[in-house]
C-alpha cells in the first residue's frame, strides 16, 4: 500500500549554491503527483532529496524534514534503509549491463540479502515484470538475455520492475519517458495508472500533457522554489500564479 510523502521546509545546496528554497508539500498516498518546471529549476534535486540520493554528491547538503508515511527520512533511518521504501526510476534507463533480465529484477532483493527460495524469487520476478507490463515480451528469455539488450522502452519498464520488486511504498520517477518513443511512453503512462492502486507516485516531467494525463496533483517549480501546488485540473485551467500561467501557456521556459 502506498503512503504519503510529506516534505516540510526543505532546503538543498550544492556546495555554496542553494538549489532548493524552503519547499513544503505533501504527495497524497496512492495518487500520482507531477512536478513540472523549466530546466534547472531543481525538480531532480527535489526528488533526489526524498530518497537521500542528494547526499551522495560531494559537498551536497539538505535541511528540513521529509517523511515517507510515518518514517522520518533524515532521522533514525539509514539511507539504504530509506531507499528500500522509496523506489526510483531514472531519466535514462539504467539496467545492470552484466545481468540477465531475471537478475536485474531480482537484484534489489539479492543484494539486500533478502532470503528466499528459488520458487519465491521466481514468483516475485514474474509479478514485478507483470506489474511493469514487460512479462509477455521477455518471459521466454528471462535468464539468458541481458537486460542491456532490450529496447530503450523495454529497459525503462525493466527498471520499473526492478524498483517494484523490493516492494517500495512510493515510487519516484525522474522524467521516465524522456528517452522513449510515443508508444513506449503510452505504455508507461498506462502503467502509472495501474501502479497508483498500490503505490504513491511522484513523477517529474517536461511534458505537460503527460502531467495532465497521469497526475491528480501538480507542482510547479521555478528557480528552486515551489511556486504553486494544486489539483492538476486547476493548475492547467485556472492557475493562481501569473508565473505558472506564463509557463504552461508557453510564454517562457
Amino acid at each position: 500500500m502506498g503512503v504519503s510523502i510529506q516534505v516540510k521546509n526543505l532546503n538543498a545546496w550544492f556546495g555554496k549554491k542553494q538549489a532548493l528554497f524552503d519547499i513544503t508539500m505533501t504527495a497524497a498516498a496512492n495518487h500520482c503527483t507531477a512536478l513540472i518546471g523549466p530546466s534547472g529549476c531543481g525538480k531532480s534535486t527535489f526528488v533526489r532529496c526524498i530518497n537521500r540520493m542528494h547526499e551522495t554528491i560531494p559537498d551536497a547538503k539538505a535541511t528540513g524534514s521529509v517523511k515517507i508515511g510515518e518514517v522520518d527520512a533524515y532521522n533514525g533511518t539509514s539511507a539504504p534503509q530509506l531507499r528500500r521504501r522509496v523506489g526510483m526510476v531514472f531519466q535514462k534507463p539504467n539496467p545492470f549491463p552484466t545481468m540477465s533480465v531475471y537478475d536485474n529484477v531480482a537484484a534489489g532483493l539479492k543484494l539486500n540479502r533478502f532470503r528466499s527460495n528459488a520458487k519465491q524469487m521466481d514468483e516475485i520476478v514474474e509479478r514485478s515484470l507483470k506489474n511493469a507490463a514487460l512479462w509477455d515480451e521477455v518471459k521466454d528469455d528471462l535468464k539468458k538475455k541481458s537486460g542491456a539488450s532490450l529496447s530503450g522502452g523495454q529497459q525503462q519498464r525493466l527498471c520499473i520492475a526492478r524498483a517494484l520488486a523490493v516492494e517500495p511504498e512510493v515510487v519516484l520517477m525522474d522524467e521516465p519517458c524522456s528517452a522513449l518513443d510515443p508508444i513506449s511512453t503510452g505504455k508507461i503512462e498506462d502503467l502509472i495508472f495501474q501502479l497508483k492502486q498500490n503505490y504513491t507516485i511522484l513523477i517529474v516531467t517536461h511534458n505537460m500533457q503527460q502531467a495532465a494525463r497521469v497526475a491528480e496533483y501538480t507542482g510547479f517549480f521555478l528557480l528552486g522554489k515551489l511556486i504553486e501546488f494544486e489539483k492538476t485540473t486547476k493548475i492547467f485551467t485556472t492557475p493562481s500564479d501569473k508565473r505558472t500561467e506564463d509557463y504552461i501557456t508557453g510564454r517562457f521556459g
Binding site: T56, F90, N94, A107, L111, S149, V166
Partner: protein, 302 residues
C-alpha cells in the same frame, strides 16, 4: 570489397553534381587509414610471431617427457629436466597472485570509489605510478631486505613477495581506470534499491568492470611471469624439488638464465626448451582465465 556499392556511390548516382569529388577523397582517405592500421597490426604481430616461431624452432626438440618430469642432472650427465623449475614458477606466481591481486584491486577500488580527488588518493596514485617504473632488480633488493634478511634464508615466499610488489601498480591503475568507466547511473541504480555502498562496489561496479580488471590482472601476471632479476636473490633457485615456501626454490626464468650463460651445448638447448615452456604456460593461463570469464557472459551483454 570494391565491387559493392557504398552509400557514397549510391548517393553520387542520384546527386551527380558535387558529391562525387568529396566522396572520392573520403574513400581514398578511408582506404589509406585502413591500410595504415592493418600494417600497424602486422608490425605488432610480427615480432611476437617471430619470437614464438624461433622459440619453437630452437626449443621444441629438447622438450621430452623427461624434461617435463625430471630435475636437472649434474654437469656432464645427459638428460634431466626442469620439472622442479616449472613447479617452482607455478608456486611463486601463484603466491604473487594471491598477494598482489587482492591488494591491487583493493587499491584500485579505493582510488575510483572513495579517494577521487582526495589527498590520499593523489598520493596512492603517484606512488603506484612511480612503483611501476622502478627497475625489477630494485624490487628484488627490497624483497631481499624485507623477507630474506629477516628470515636469514632465500625462499619461495620472498620471490612471491617480490613479484607481488611488481604486479600491484599495474593492477591498481587498470582497476581504477576500468571502474571509472562504469557509468555513475549504474551505481545510482544500485543505491536507489537500497544497496549499501560496499556492496554496490563489489557486486555491481566491480562486476560490470570485471573484463577490463581481468585484462589488467593478466597483463601484470604475464609481465612478472618472465622476471628473472627479482628472483635472483629472493627465490634463489634450487637443483631439487622443493615444496616448502620457506626454502630456496627453482623457477623457470632462473633456470633459463643459469643454463643460457653456461658453456654447455646441452644446457643451451634446455634453456630454449625452458623458455618455450614458460611462454606456453603464460598463454595457457591467460587463455584459461579469458575462457572462464567469457563463459559467464550473456547474450547481448557488453
Amino acid at each position: 570489397m570494391s565491387n559493392s556499392v557504398t552509400p557514397n556511390q549510391a548517393m553520387a548516382g542520384s546527386n551527380a553534381l558535387e558529391i562525387p569529388n568529396v566522396s572520392k577523397r573520403r574513400m581514398v582517405t578511408d582506404h589509406v587509414m585502413t591500410a595504415l592500421s592493418v600494417s600497424a597490426m602486422f608490425l605488432v604481430l610480427a615480432p611476437l610471431l617471430a619470437i614464438f616461431g624461433y622459440l619453437v624452432y630452437k626449443g621444441v626438440g629438447s622438450i621430452s617427457w623427461d624434461f617435463l618430469t625430471q630435475t636437472p642432472k649434474p654437469v656432464g650427465e645427459p638428460g634431466g629436466g626442469m620439472a622442479n623449475a616449472i613447479e617452482g614458477s607455478a608456486v611463486i606466481l601463484g603466491l604473487a597472485s594471491l598477494l598482489g591481486i587482492p591488494v591491487g584491486i583493493g587499491a584500485g577500488i579505493y582510488l575510483a570509489e572513495y579517494g577521487r580527488g582526495g589527498y590520499l588518493g593523489f598520493i596512492v596514485r603517484f606512488v603506484s605510478d612511480v612503483l611501476n617504473g622502478v627497475p625489477s632488480i630494485v624490487i628484488g633488493i627490497v624483497a631481499y631486505s624485507l623477507v630474506v634478511l629477516k628470515q636469514k634464508h632465500f625462499s619461495a615466499l620472498a620471490g612471491g613477495v617480490a613479484l607481488a610488489i611488481m604486479m600491484i601498480p599495474t593492477i591498481t591503475r587498470t582497476t581504477e581506470e576500468m571502474l571509472l568507466l562504469v557509468p555513475s547511473q549504474i551505481r545510482e541504480a544500485a543505491f536507489g534499491l537500497g544497496v549499501p555502498q560496499w556492496r554496490t562496489t563489489l557486486s555491481i561496479t566491480l562486476r560490470t568492470a570485471l573484463p577490463g580488471v581481468i585484462t589488467g590482472v593478466m597483463l601484470a601476471f604475464a609481465r612478472v611471469a618472465g622476471e628473472t632479476a627479482p628472483l635472483l636473490f629472493t627465490a634463489f633457485g634450487n637443483q631439487f624439488w622443493n615444496f616448502n615456501l620457506n626454502q630456496p626454490t627453482a623457477a623457470l626464468p632462473l633456470q633459463i638464465f643459469a643454463y643460457a650463460i653456461s658453456p654447455f651445448d646441452e644446457w643451451h638447448k634446455q634453456a630454449w626448451a625452458g623458455a618455450l615452456v614458460l611462454i606456453v604456460m603464460i598463454v595457457v593461463a591467460v587463455s584459461a582465465v579469458r575462457l572462464a570469464v567469457s563463459r559467464g557472459n550473456l547474450r547481448g551483454a557488453h
